[in-house]
């Protein structure tokens, strides 16, 4: 795919040059429906070409591309984009449709592909039942606590790894990376006995500690990467004034890495929001259950109507997806930085 653009563009240029004005106008309007390419960009390339005669010659040599072929190429690309979007969205859309289906539609021989909004009461009913609200509240507490803890511990750790050279630094970095390969399912047994000793079983605090232990290394690496990107000169002024390193961290670095803190916070939040293994093992009283455990208990269970199950699951999914989309720019930047540098 990647090689097609230039020839396609040159095809369009030659077309425009050769055709009468009316035809040209139509052509200029067309790509907005088909390729949707930004007009400004196109005009930019035009002027670029005018400035570089050799490039134009080269392009003309490779020119005569049949219009039908590039139209097929465009159509294929649009179909590909739509297909990928459809594949990405469909399961969650289907969750929503299932929640909003009448019994008749659900078990009919032909599937109903659109949500039936007259069934919206299922969401209201699910929320009216105290269980759902309690699950979501517990998840919220766990996720918030995990986020706060991993950010508060992660910022100084990231700062130490970024700004100082000290004995054990390499070891610390390796340890942070190695935690990435430890499965929760392996650590659940020793953590169970540890929490048993400190009476942290069946408590949200225990879950916060366990989750933070797993997400703190990621948060710290993201924050280290962010601090790496801040020029040390900014701290020099502070040093001259005799500010202590801690002051410099909180006054100079923290405000500047706010986007990365946001990224780390979102990652920490949803790690804890989605976490299942620790929650299902450490929590035994229903009042303490987070939504992940509650929703998982629906799988294979037949008593609850499918619509209710899907409605609850959708309400559990929506904050994660919505908040993620909202913070996407930072999360992707943070993840990429962490992944590339880590």
């Amino acid at each position: 795919m990647s090689g097609e653009m230039p020839s396609e563009r040159s095809g369009r240029h030659s077309e425009e040059r050769a055709q009468p004005p009316a035809e040209q106008a139509r052509n200029r309007a067309r790509p907005e429906h088909t390729s949707g390419e930004m007009p400004s960009e196109r005009s930019g390339r035009h002027s670029e070409e005018r400035a570089q005669p050799p490039a134009e010659q080269a392009r003309n040599r490779a020119r005569p591309e049949p219009t039908s072929r590039l139209r097929i190429g465009l159509t294929l690309r649009i179909v590909a984009v739509l297909a990928v979007m459809g594949i990405a969205i469909f399961p969650l859309y289907w969750m929503f449709v299932t929640a909003l289906s009448s019994d008749a539609d659900l078990f009919a021989s032909d599937a109903r592909l659109l949500p039936d909004f007259s069934q919206f009461g299922v969401f209201v009913d699910a929320l009216a039942e105290g269980e759902t609200v309690r699950w979501l509240r517990n998840s919220l507490v766990i996720a918030t606590g995990t986020t706060a803890l991993s950010i508060v511990l992660g910022i100084p750790l990231g700062y130490a790894l970024s700004r100082f050279s000290f004995r054990g630094k390499a070891l610390m970095t390796v340890v942070l990376l190695l935690t990435q390969m430890l499965p929760e399912a392996l650590m659940v047994v020793p953590l169970f006995s540890l929490f048993n000793r400190f009476e942290l079983l069946d408590s949200l605090v225990g879950l916060i500690l366990a989750n933070a232990a797993f997400v703190l290394p990621i948060a710290a690496l993201i924050l280290k990467g962010a601090i790496d990107g801040i020029p040390r000169e900014l701290e020099e002024a502070g040093r001259v004034d005799g500010a202590r390193p801690f002051t410099m961290l909180t006054r100079i670095n923290v405000p500047l890495i706010a986007p990365s803190i946001a990224a780390a916070a979102v990652i920490a939040f949803f790690h804890a929001w989605n976490e299942y293994v620790f929650a299902v093992t450490f929590i035994y009283s229903p009042e303490m259950q987070p939504a992940s455990v509650g929703i998982a208990s629906f799988i294979g269970e037949v008593g609850t109507p499918v619509q209710t199950v899907m409605a609850v699951a959708f309400m559990f999914t929506l904050p994660a997806v919505g908040f993620y989309l909202f913070a996407q720019k930072y999360v992707v930047a943070g993840m990429t930085a962490g992944a590339v540098k880590g």
Binding site: V84, I89, P91, S193, A213, G242, F298
Partner: protein
């Protein structure tokens, strides 16, 4: 408090008292809380697991351990079922890595063009990665429902229906179904990371190559691939390590069944600990997984270093 103190102290004195980076203990003060935390909740538990793997220990009485040396390891490696678990883990990891990186690269190349609505397309494509694993397992199970699931309805409509439709109850189709679900959840991350790596591909270089009459494939492997290769390698490593430890999606969809056909190392470990209550065996299985991860990491470092040397030469 420190701020007040410092503003009062004469500047020259402050400069004399402190070296520019503070004392040599400063970095340790910054990292101590996090280090202690990680030691307590990661290092100590890991050490305990290593110890457990050399003992006979029951879940019902976890404090009474009988030291048995390497017996647990000898036991699992002589067990045919464990060999099957290793094979399934290998298949699962390889397909997850190839599938998610491959699909991610394809999607990244599709999205690496400017077109109207690209921002929306890019945001929507990342949705699967943001969806909680529990919800994914739930909707996947419902979509694969033998009677009412949309997947069976679709497969039947196009004449590819599985007899009886019970995909997750079939030892042939359960693993592919889980692999598709996992890949669906992973490809957004790989595509987003690869998309940002593609931004580093010099546009004039690819255009020049195409102008000189180079084919798309040639341009891709001579220009694009060279730039994104390190990122692909890193993603492959991350996907490998994460796939080796992935638990909830598989556990909630099949619990490793039917008849062990989807039992990866982590599923086997959890079942040993909580169904068979054999903490020693479970720990030994876990250690096998950890050692595999370590080998993969060490191997990737070796490959990366060799590639670096090659480049310098």
């Amino acid at each position: 408090m420190t701020v007040i103190e410092q503003t009062r102290a004469p500047r020259s004195e402050a400069r004399r008292r402190r070296s520019p980076l503070g004392s040599r203990w400063t970095p340790y003060l910054f990292l101590a809380p996090a280090a202690l935390f990680i030691a307590l909740f990661q290092a100590v538990p890991l050490a305990q697991e290593i110890f457990l793997s050399f003992t006979h220990t029951s879940l019902l009485n976890p404090t009474s351990n009988t030291w048995v040396g390497l017996e647990n390891y000898a036991h699992i490696f002589s067990d045919d079922e464990f060999h099957r678990t290793l094979t399934i883990t290998l298949v699962y990891v390889v397909v997850c890595v190839v599938g998610s990186v491959g699909a991610g690269l394809g999607v990244a190349l599709i999205l690496n063009r400017s077109f109207r609505g690209r921002g929306i397309a890019r945001a929507l494509v990342t949705v699967p990665w943001a969806a909680p694993g529990i919800a994914v397992a739930l909707i996947a199970t419902w979509m694969l429902n033998p009677q009412y699931g949309i997947v069976n309805r679709f497969l039947n409509a196009v004449g590819l229906g599985v007899p009886g439709g019970a995909i997750l109850d079939s030892s042939t189709y359960a693993l592919p179904a889980i692999l598709v679900t996992t890949t669906w959840q992973l490809f957004p991350l790989t595509s987003v990371v690869l998309l940002s790596a593609l931004q580093a591909v010099p546009k004039d270089l690819t255009e020049a190559a195409t102008m000189d009459g180079a084919g798309r494939w040639w341009t891709f492997q001579a220009v694009t691939w060279q730039v994104i290769k390190p990122t692909v390698g890193l993603l492959a490593l991350l996907m490998t390590i994460w796939s080796l430890r992935r638990f909830e999606l598989i556990w909630l969809m099949t619990k490793g069944g039917p008849v062990g056909s989807t039992e990866t190392l982590v599923i086997d470990l959890y079942a040993q600990a909580f169904d068979s209550k054999q903490l020693g065996t479970a720990a030994a299985i876990g250690m096998v997984g950890v050692v595999i991860s370590l080998i993969v990491i060490a191997g990737s470092r070796f490959v990366a270093r060799a590639a670096e040397k090659e480049n310098i030469r």
